[in-house]
């Protein structure tokens, strides 16, 4: 098998995930796009492990580690999304502007004043 087939698949999958991270508003859809990007990296790792005939199998071991870290990331990310939803009743990443610079967002001052009790609980 030519090495470019897995590499091109990985590149296109990574860029689809990149588009999803930038364009989606729902936080859970952003997490799904991050999973797509991590999977693209995994294809690269497996393909280069096979190509280089690594005797230590570093590529496959690292793929397993990336899968584990993705599981940890999705657990923590969903916990944070659920807590934000509990405090703000939204999972829209475009509405969370409390950490933006003052004056950067159109309504950052009003929304940060409104949700100040939620901040200290967090």
């Amino acid at each position: 098998m030519h090495l470019v087939y897995p590499l091109i698949l990985a590149v296109l999958l990574f860029c689809i995930g990149l588009y999803g991270v930038l364009a989606r508003r729902n936080a859970i859809l952003v997490l799904m796009s991050v999973e797509l990007m991590l999977n693209a990296v995994n294809i690269n790792l497996v393909a280069f492990d096979m190509w280089l005939r690594d005797t230590l199998h570093a590529g496959q071991a690292l793929t397993l580690f990336v899968i584990t870290i993705a599981a940890a990331e999705i657990g923590l990310g969903l916990a944070i999304v659920l807590m934000v939803f509990r405090n703000r009743a939204t999972s829209d990443v475009a509405a969370l502007r409390e950490l933006a610079e003052p004056g950067a967002g159109p309504k950052s001052a009003a929304s940060s004043a409104r949700t100040a009790p939620g901040n200290e609980a967090a």
Binding site: H2, C15, I16, L22, N26, L29, H57, A61, G75
Partner: protein
């Protein structure tokens, strides 16, 4: 699987041209098209729950790609952890945040066109570099058994055992953190809607 690998091995001497693909290459490209199409649907569909279901198709197709790359153990780990655990977790997250069933507008932010521009530019750059660097590289998937569970397990528990244990502690810490974060305290039970 072994028939596919043998087919790749028969014509694999010296790296044949792109115009005479082997059976494994044809299967890889076809499954790759399915993977890319369902990944596009994940990031563009208007129904949130459908995005999670298309993600199942994408991840399952990737497991088949790992099988074609003769990485069996990775393929089954992909099926078990991603499709078995991560997608179920995502579906639970969608339901707990009361995601609407059916079409919902406002899923794409206002920065849709800049995002498309960034992704397209990244794809063009990476494709140019990767194709230029690796167009002559040939992956000889012989009968080496490099990706079997035996070989992977031996290297994992002989060479990579310390990172493995550190990672298990990291996973435990992350899951305990997730439990503590999502535990509902008594004082904010009345603040919830």
């Amino acid at each position: 699987m072994s028939a596919l690998a043998a087919a790749a091995d028969l014509s694999g001497s010296g790296g044949p041209g792109f115009l005479s693909p082997t059976g494994a290459e044809v299967a890889f490209v076809l499954i790759g098209l399915v993977v890319l199409g369902s990944a596009l649907l994940v990031v563009t569909t208007k129904q949130i729950v459908h995005a999670a279901l298309w993600l199942v198709v994408t991840l399952g197709g990737l497991a088949a790609e790992y099988l074609l790359l003769t990485a069996e153990f990775i393929a089954w780990v992909q099926v078990l952890i991603y499709i078995g655990a991560v997608v179920v977790l995502l579906l639970f997250g969608l339901m707990l945040t009361r995601a609407p069933i059916g079409r919902s507008a406002e899923l794409d932010s206002a920065s849709k066109w800049p995002a498309l521009l960034v992704a397209g530019a990244a794809a063009a750059t990476l494709l140019t570099v990767v194709v230029d660097a690796f167009h002559a590289a040939y992956l000889d998937l012989g009968e080496t058994g490099d990706g079997s569970a035996r070989v992977t397990g031996e290297s994992l528990f002989r060479v990579w055992v310390l990172p493995f244990e550190v990672l298990s502690v990291l996973l435990l810490a992350a899951l305990i953190g997730a439990i503590i974060l999502s535990r509902s305290r008594g004082d904010d039970a009345d603040r919830r809607r």
